[in-house]
């Protein structure tokens, strides 16, 4: 009334003016190129492919099952299955992608691909400096650009990666133990039959029976 509200408002802005010099909570701006926010662990931008070991081609967890391609809301994933197979972490023979492309100009970073992936292969990255001068080639990421080591995954999503690593290690041990047991049983059976010359190895595990824990 009669200007008292205006005075109150002026006091408020004055408070904010002086507060901005001593109260860091008021200044939420991050001066970007010099400072960068520490992104929370859950943060996600675009997908990437996880590989184990050193070789991106050999260690790629993806089995080209195409679930992510089907579920992707924007249909920005393009996968071509390779005809050959290679063993996965538990030693089963799996298909692997010949082509795995993600058009990140279309990708909206929803993370559904990472959620539906049964092989813990596609995960959400945290890079955000993605701008390029080339609209077409640079924004279409191929398998080589998408593949990143498991150690990187462990660095950006430590909790989730730790759980997955433990689970995969358990699977591997179980599979090894099973293989060992199988081999022993086979050997025993072989010894019993006393026909060692004919059979020397266990049959390879069928690729269809992959069961994530």
């Amino acid at each position: 009334m009669l200007g008292s509200g205006l005075i109150k408002g002026l006091a408020q802005t004055a408070k904010n003016f002086f507060g901005s010099y001593h109260d860091p909570a008021r200044m939420v701006t991050v001066e970007y190129p010099e400072q960068k926010r520490v992104v929370p662990e859950a943060s996600r931008t675009i997908p990437f492919l996880v590989y184990d070991g050193e070789d991106p081609e050999l260690g790629l967890r993806c089995t080209a099952c195409k679930i992510c391609e089907v579920e992707c809301p924007t249909q920005c994933i393009y996968i071509v299955k390779n005809t050959s197979k290679k063993p996965d972490h538990v030693g089963k023979m799996q298909f692997h992608p010949a082509t795995f492309d993600i058009d990140i100009s279309v990708c909206m970073g929803c993370g559904i691909c990472a959620e539906v992936c049964p092989f813990d292969s596609i995960k959400m990255d945290q890079v955000f400096e993605l701008s390029t001068a080339d609209r077409f080639e640079s924004l279409l990421l191929h398998k080589q650009q998408l593949a990143k080591p498991n150690s990187y995954f462990g660095k950006i999503h430590p909790t989730e990666a730790g759980e997955i690593d433990i689970r995969r290690e358990q699977d591997k041990r179980k599979a090894e133990a099973k293989a060992k047991a199988d081999a022993e049983a086979k050997a025993r059976a072989a010894a019993e039959v006393q026909n060692a010359a004919a059979n020397s190895a266990a049959p390879p595990p069928s690729p269809q029976t992959v069961t994530p824990a």
Binding site: L6, Q12, K15, P40, C110, V116
Partner: protein, 414 residues
């Protein structure tokens, strides 16, 4: 796309330097205004005044909150006719929903009203849950209430910032609003991974559980928020200029509001007690003590005040929810992520989004994607009443009336 209309042609060829009358504005002929040939329309029986001036405000006008256009006919500065034109941001949302799976529609709902992605998610999963009978566990319900009320805080604060910006306040309240919003979207980011497009809720539950320490951080944010609201009100609520600009401006009568299907704070500012959190009691809203503030005059100031008071109530709900939240699972054990194929049928689910009643209408035919996917956007329905509120007011008022409607063009045009 909309073809170039006659107004545009006349806009390009016509001379804008024609004066407009400042006299009294009675007795303009409506019929003449409608003929798109004439840009300046002769008034019939006004000896003093000049002609009517037709201005296309938008779609790139600074204060139409996006690509919205108001074709206004002005007598001096008084609005005698206003036609809202929208569709510039049409993104085919409903058709995409019909071709995608049920799961794949969730990230698209984030982009409806991109300030309130959480409530959009909730409205959609609430509808599908109604269809499939999935029941989220208690912890998930609490988290939903918490994020929805935080969204309400974000939306109302930003809306007030934009509204006062439309009144010409050089962005100061808006910057304060964004400062506080930052705290809340930091919370949402640590929860869902994204700052705006959360994609957080799932049928029968949530995508992921709260990260450790989240509740404490949320409690801190909420405690700060009531302090911030006091400051915000000290800056705005008593400001004589704001009072003069908003009181008695853009009055929406109760009957008209009801018959036009207006919902949300706009309806409550007109004095109608209708809040789906009380009416439907969806989720677990019946467990919390909160009240519904009601306006009396239905003007811009009431719409502003109702939002402030709603924020204070939201803070109360948040206090209760954050204190009561139990441990437990966050997903219905029956729910599965992929391959949802509901039985044929139809369903309409609605929640009280910060802007009003947000509803999803689905017809299913047993296939993995809905047969019909329809959204009832509160922004659009509330916008249809714009002309009735703006007639007889000045063009500066039309701008703040539009601001007080609280639209997001992503939701209006879908």
């Amino acid at each position: 796309m909309i073809a170039p209309r006659e107004e545009f042609k006349s806009w390009q060829s016509g001379v804008a330097g024609n004066g407009s009358g400042n006299g009294s504005g009675n007795g303009s002929s409506y019929g003449a205004v409608r003929s798109s040939e004439a840009k300046l329309v002769k008034k019939t029986d006004d000896s003093l005044g000049g002609d009517l001036l037709e201005v296309a405000m938008g779609p790139h006008h600074p204060s139409t909150h996006g690509v919205f256009r108001m074709d206004v006919v002005l007598d001096g500065e008084t609005v005698v006719k206003l036609k809202p034109v929208f569709g510039y941001l049409h993104r085919n949302h409903e058709k995409i929903g019909e071709t995608n799976s049920y799961l794949a529609a969730i990230p698209y709902t984030d982009r409806l009203d991109y300030i309130c992605s959480m409530t959009n998610n909730w409205a959609y999963v609430h509808t599908v849950e109604k269809l499939t009978g999935l029941q989220p566990p208690e912890r998930a319900e609490y988290i939903r209430v918490i994020v929805a009320e935080l969204t309400r805080l974000v939306n109302h604060t930003c809306l007030i910032g934009f509204l006062v910006q439309d009144m010409g306040a050089l962005g100061t309240p808006l910057m304060y609003a964004f400062r506080e919003r930052e705290n809340i979207i930091d919370l949402f980011e640590s929860l869902s991974g994204s700052r705006m497009m959360f994609n957080y809720m799932r049928f029968g539950g949530l995508r992921c559980d709260l990260p450790p320490g989240w509740i404490e951080q949320a409690k801190r944010v909420v405690a700060n928020y009531s302090r911030f609201l006091d400051d915000y009100e000290a800056l705005l609520s008593g400001n004589e200029i704001l009072l003069a600009r908003s009181q008695g401006v853009g009055v929406l009568k109760k009957d008209l509001a009801i018959s036009a299907g207006v919902t949300g704070p706009m309806l409550r500012a007109s004095g109608v007690n209708y809040d789906l959190r009380k009416v439907d009691q969806y989720g677990i809203y019946n467990r919390f003590q909160f009240r519904i503030p009601l306006g009396e005059h239905g003007d811009v100031f009431d719409r502003y005040m109702i939002r402030v008071l709603e924020m204070r109530e939201a803070v109360k709900i948040l206090d209760q929810a954050l204190a009561q939240i139990p441990e437990g699972p966050i997903n219905d054990p029956k729910a599965k992520l992929r391959g949802l194929r509901p039985k044929p049928g139809e369903v309409y689910g609605r929640i009280e989004s910060p802007k009003g009643e947000l509803g999803f209408y689905l017809i299913t035919d047993g296939s993995p994607n809905p047969y019909r996917f329809r959204i009832r956007p509160p922004s659009l329905i509330n916008l249809t009443i714009l002309e009735d509120m703006c007639l007889g007011q000045s063009v500066a008022d039309a701008v703040i009336i539009l601001g007080s409607v609280d639209i997001v063009l992503g939701e209006v045009d879908r």
